[in-house]
């Protein structure tokens, strides 16, 4: 009984650790650089976090049911290229097209995963390669800069309402929709059940394969949306636009406290995780860490976060 209550205590601590970390980091950066705590800087922080948050939200759906999506950065890059190439002709339709391509790519990766019983990391790694090459080919290996007329379609990303950047509002909409999906719909419940105990979910009549495919469709669609927003913020599309975002995205999910083994997690946690990653990034910029060296830190953060969030005594074998 003592061991039981003790483990509950540790679970409590684990639960609040991410929020506590975020608060400590914000205070630390604020003390070192008081300007950081001004509303305008904080709004800028939120705007800079939006793309990472949307990517991380998508992959949260997949991680919740015990899988992984390694194609998200290629998906986001391809999406930016699709927008850059078609926005002049299709206008707002280019955004729809980019997200639709994401949905189809997720559907294919998901079907490959459940139909051929291929591990998700292989199915999405392969899909990532396909998407990256597709982006290279259709962009002729070049970055495509958007003109004035084309940027007019992107005001919903680049503009602001009453001083709040639109991209923050888009992030809020994503937060609400994804949170409802994850915590209030049968899909979200089934995902948690599959991640925590797939055999029991299956025996209870849950259509496991269908839920998995939905999760991969969501993950790729959110990645495509992230690419659309990135294209707006950088006024360009490029096959390598999101190239450094896979590691921080997965780190954000796990740092937020969602278990990499599935079953336990939420979109709120992913939000907290994405903010932690952003604050760390800004902190490193203050400290003068080379921007290209930042993934060294995120790699280390990912390992540590997984080590802390998983109770390995319950998982005898890790592959």
């Amino acid at each position: 009984m003592a061991a039981l209550s003790e483990s509950i205590g540790i679970d409590r601590i684990r639960q609040y650790l991410p929020v506590a970390t975020l608060v400590v980091l914000v205070i630390a950066v604020g003390v070192a650089q008081p300007a950081f705590l001004e509303p305008s800087t904080l709004l800028q922080l939120a705007a800079d976090t939006a793309v990472l948050f949307i990517l991380a939200t998508g992959v949260t759906f997949v991680i919740m049911l015990g899988g992984i999506d390694l194609s998200l950065q290629s998906m986001a890059s391809l999406s930016s290229v699709v927008v850059a190439l078609t926005i002049a002709r299709l206008g707002y339709g280019s955004f729809v097209l980019a997200v639709a391509i994401g949905a189809v790519a997720g559907l294919l990766a998901g079907l490959a995963h459940v139909r051929f019983r291929i591990p998700s990391f292989i199915a999405t790694l392969a899909m990532g390669g396909v998407l990256f090459s597709a982006a290279l080919v259709i962009s002729h290996e070049q970055s495509i800069t958007l003109g004035e007329a084309e940027r007019a379609y992107q005001v919903w990303i680049t503009g602001s309402v009453a001083g709040v950047p639109n991209v923050v509002l888009v992030g809020l909409v994503v937060l609400i929709v994804a949170h409802l999906l994850q915590s209030r719909t049968p899909f979200g419940r089934y995902s948690a059940a599959i991640g925590a105990g797939e055999p029991a979910a299956y025996a209870s009549g849950v259509k496991v394969d269908r839920q998995k495919v939905i999760a991969y469709v969501l993950s790729a669609s959110f990645a495509a949306l992230a690419g659309v927003i990135l294209a707006g913020r950088l006024s360009s599309g490029s096959p390598t636009l999101a190239a450094e975002l896979l590691l921080p995205s997965i780190a954000a999910v796990v740092v937020g406290g969602t278990a990499i083994t599935g079953g336990v997690g939420s979109i709120w946690r992913t939000l907290v995780g994405a903010l932690i990653i952003s604050v760390v990034r800004i902190g490193m910029t203050f400290l003068g860490v080379n921007i290209f060296a930042q993934n060294i830190v995120f790699g280390a953060v990912l390992i540590i976060a997984v080590a802390i969030t998983i109770d390995r005594s319950k998982i005898p074998i890790v592959k």
């Binding site: 039981l4 409802l180 209030r184 719909t185 049968p186 419940r189 089934y190 948690a192 059940a193 925590a196 105990g197 055999p199 029991a200 979910a201 299956y202 025996a203 209870s204 009549g205 849950v206 259509k207 079953g263 336990v264």
Partner: protein
Amino acid sequence: MSAPSVPALSLVDVDKRFPGVHALKNVSIEIMPGEVVGLIGENGAGKSTLMKILSGVYQPDGGEIRLAGKPTRFISAADANRQGIGMVFQEQSLLTNLSVGENVYLGNEAQFRRFGLVDWGALYAAAARQLEKVEVDVDPRTHTSELDFATRQMVELAKALTLEENAGGHLVILLDEPTSVLERAEIEILFARVRALKTRASFIFVSHRLDEVLELSDRIYVMKDGAVVADLPAAEANITQLHQLMVGRSLQAAYYRESLQKPYGDEVVIEAEGLTLGHAYRDISFKLHAGEILGIAGVLGSGREEVTRTLAGFAPHDGGSLRIGGRECRLRTPAEAVDNGVGYIPRERRVEGLVLFLSVAANITLANLRSLTRHWLIDGREEQRIATTWVERLKVKTPSINALCLNLSGGNQQKVVLAKWLNAKARVLILDHPTRGLDVGAKEEVYELVRSVTAEGVAVILTSDTLEETIGLSHTVLVMRDGAITHRTAALPGHKPTQVALIEHMV
């Protein structure tokens, strides 16, 4: 036997508890050098726990293990090995992708190491010597997957015998249901080897086949409810007597709530005709009526487990017909079974029954979440209300409906599984060893609930750990052997068939 010698291995007052279960109650047994000791008991009697203590997997909470008279401890399986305890398990432990020789010395290759590399020539030569001990004529370089089950079992025995060289002393080899995958002729060979090896080792033989235990053992221990209830020479024992010792008491009508057994209705819920699945079972026909409990009896390998898996949607039949509620169907997934009103209460409660890391409420509503969904969203308040209702009705003891199922006792977990299917309005429940691992009080509660749901018209298919439970609960009993039905009988209150009458159709 000459003058009383020191037992090769003895357990003195060994005690072991798990949360909610007193698995071993002051168990004392001893094995003399060169003796074959049979160990029998029903599922849950404590045999497996005892074997796990002897093989170092579990540590006893109290009591003492003595090896050749000297107190010792087995802190791990490897440690037990080093001290001369060998194991041959029912689920074979050989790795089929390795050669026979590699398997024999798996984990003990160090002795053949030369300059950091394994001297394979020496290893195979040594393996060949081990195989000679059990008189198996197989090249140790053969891939294990090419061997039949009987030969693999011999290789396991050879592997256990490698301990002779390492442990030095007298070996004690645990044989845990070693015959369950073997044919009769193969069993003869295994027994002959064991007898021939009695000069080298003692054996503890666990089996559910009483005739084999009588045939091979010198002495037999009978366990029941975590305690040794009898210790008798095999020469003086017979099957009926052993069975009575295992069961312990005569059938108690009250225990199974026979007074609550109501006659079932006329409505046929499931009709199977000539149902067949590969080599698992064939030509199974029965009618299951609303409110009826149909028990299926049979030993391991009789095909009864596969029949229940088919009805639960895990193993679709490939011949004959299955009608549920008058509609012809073939259940390819559990989801299709659920759609047809069939709920499955599995023996692996913690794996297939419940999502342990979800709340009680989420588990109760899992099979019927659609009915709670309005405009795409789960109605949280309605979910809480429904879960509270079931928790109260089935008297589930839980700190809250939002507590994780992980923290509930076995009996209460089983009630949550039952609540899930009642909430999904299942018309048929498949009870696959529903009381496995439960203590007596929890079992009685499950019996009471089963009686009350059948009184409301739910039909039940039951496979049980014990014949006693099958007979006590069922309206009708089918007996299966080798994949076919060999006997069917009504089991009305006051006119229940005897266990002996069923056993003759089982073996």
